[in-house]
Symmetry: C2
């Protein structure tokens, strides 16, 4: 099952994976598994526990460290009060100004936890061979050997998320923690944060049980939008308007789930984000077209068509200018420390929803047409003075 | 005049500029000017002649070289047949496998020209002080001193453009060469390359005499598009259609001039390119709206409105997906060595022009609606399989 998954992963990521079998896994401890990799590794390498889940920034920062030819660096969690720790099972670490002095499950004098994330030189193999002469086969014993030689360093993960998923209780904790992390998305607009996100997280929690990909969720949200647009386009009563408005808002909620599932299942990809963005642009255009035709067909006023046209191009232009605006304004954003207010998709779809359920489509379209185009012009003006 | 320009430039680029006055410029030669900068520079620096124009890639490549603490590297043009050279005035260089052996205006045994582009350590100041003891004040003499010590290296610019603008004849040559460089824009589509570019270059040549900024040209091209769109929108005869079509194509031609003037006058900026792109998106939308209303108001067919809608979102989505598509497909593009065919703005506006002048607006809109949206879908599909 594991090798099948790894072969599939290797293909998906275009990264070669060499699978090494350890037929002594039952009799001996984890150091033996590592030693099997010796002949494949004569340069610094990362060593990870396959059942640990952690913030990938730990890896980035750890591997940015300078590693001398015979050293090992262990990512250490210095937060002794970390609630995700199973204190009976975790390996403890005693370190002193970045040097590991002691390590083991049973030590009582410690100031950190072993996260199972290592950046090591091949010197680790020599240490493993050394301890095997005394019949020892744990990774910790080998790290202790390096520590005694002054070659084992500790790297502080500074409260970043990590968890060892050893049993069903830990799995539950890990799931809860990952779900909690979804709530903190700094780019969320107000409607996302207070309305859509709480709902979409609940849905994602359910969806995560199934084998559903983020792109499938993006597609489903898109289909909902098209359905809402069609209802706006053809429906001629308040009942249909209300139905369309609710479906549009629902699609906005579901539109949060693709990213959540991607983050939960570590399936984030550049393509996925782009695919979602492209579908969102089409969905926005269809929804606005549906609303425009809804009011135009009732009144036949050219001005209604024009308002719809401006709402459509305004929405497009907001998205089209967003990346470059962020790039040009980055210095300013960093300076003030907060993100500039963004008239995002969450707000746009919420205005559509409100316009539909209150039967005030024209006002919703005028609002979108005005705010979006004014914001684009504002961006053109403020960026002109930025370097 | 020069210091005023530099102060202005310093503000525009947010780069501090220290101006150093050399009151001996008339009596002594150029080495004296350099020596005045000694106390400001105790690290490697670039030394450039203010009247040379050159391809900025020379600077990038030159300064990427490793420079030892007491060395100087001179960018050397090894193309002895370079027609832009004034052979009586140019400083000649004799180099041997990257080491300069001799330099001077009068030497007869040479294999390259001094481009006046230097990357140097402060050792140059010591050499200048040394020659000044013998009453010499030319930069070449100081370089010769370093060359004799084996510390002057030559860097081959490999036929990149550079010219020394010493007199009106050289200025003419430089202008012609810069204009010629405009013709080679690898991102140009077929209509740009064979129709718009030859015309826009002629216009840019004229415009370059005046104090007109690229953004002003972008704005003018935008106004022309809006005029064409208004003519399409309100005009109800072939005469107006023809007029609108010609103005639309003219705006497409002028839309090439902003970039040309920016490159000619070294005024290229991120903001300028973005400003132009944003105006182009609005212009496209207005033109397509004008054409759509033109045929819809005559026939009142909903399908005409929908075709116009799809033409508008298709055009938008082509631009919206372009950057990400290029990024995701970069490997493939580099592999095949050629850029993938791009259904660019030049083609879109040319279809609008042809549709208007042949009185086949509906066909033009169908063509744009179909090709653009099909291309967007194609992009979504092919990128899915790229890593």
């Amino acid at each position: 099952k594991v090798s099948g998954y790894l072969n599939d992963l290797s293909g998906r990521l275009s990264v070669p994976i060499t699978i090494i079998y350890n037929d002594e896994w039952k009799e001996k401890e984890n150091g033996v598994s590592i030693l099997k990799a010796k002949k494949y590794l004569n340069e610094p390498f990362l060593l990870l526990m396959s059942d640990h889940i952690f913030d990938s920034n730990i890896l980035k920062e750890l591997s940015a460290n300078e590693l001398n030819g015979d050293e090992l660096i262990l990512a250490v969690d210095e937060n002794l009060k970390n609630k995700l720790i199973d204190i009976d099972d975790v390996t403890k670490v005693k370190q002193n100004s970045g040097k590991i002095e002691d390590i083991g499950k049973e030590i009582t004098d410690y100031n950190g936890y072993d996260t199972g994330i290592f950046y090591s030189s091949p010197a680790l193999f020599t240490a493993l061979e050394k301890i095997s002469l005394n019949g020892k086969t744990t990774l910790s014993s080998a790290v202790k050997v390096l520590a005694d030689e002054g070659k084992a360093k500790a790297f502080n993960i500074k409260n970043k998320f990590w968890i060892d998923v050893d049993d069903p209780a830990a799995l539950k904790k890990a799931e809860k923690e990952l779900i909690n992390l979804l709530k903190e998305k700094p780019t969320d607009g107000p409607v996302s944060r207070y309305l859509n996100r709480p709902l979409s997280i609940r849905i994602s929690k359910l969806l995560s049980r199934f084998n559903i990909t983020p792109n499938q969720i993006s597609s489903f949200s898109f289909i909902l939008s098209i359905a809402a647009a069609a209802i706006f386009f053809f429906g001629r009563s308040y009942f249909w308007l209300l139905t369309g408005g609710i479906i549009a808002q629902l699609s906005s909620v579901i539109d949060g789930c693709d990213g959540e599932i991607a983050r939960l299942k570590f399936m984030k990809s550049k393509y996925g984000g782009w695919f979602d963005a492209v579908l969102d642009r089409y969905a926005d255009a269809f929804l606005l077209l549906g609303l425009t035709w809804n009011i135009y067909s009732l009144n036949n006023l050219l001005s209604y068509l024009l308002i719809g046209f401006f709402a459509i191009i305004g929405s497009f232009m907001l998205s089209y200018t967003a990346d470059k605006y962020d790039e040009l304004m980055r210095n300013k954003i960093n300076e003030t420390g907060k993100r500039l207010f963004r008239l995002g998709r969450d707000i746009r779809l919420f205005i559509i929803f409100l316009g539909a359920v209150t039967n005030q489509v024209l006002i919703a379209l005028i609002l979108i047409a005005l705010t979006s185009n004014v914001e684009v012009i504002r961006r053109l003006i403020v960026c002109r003075d930025e370097k």
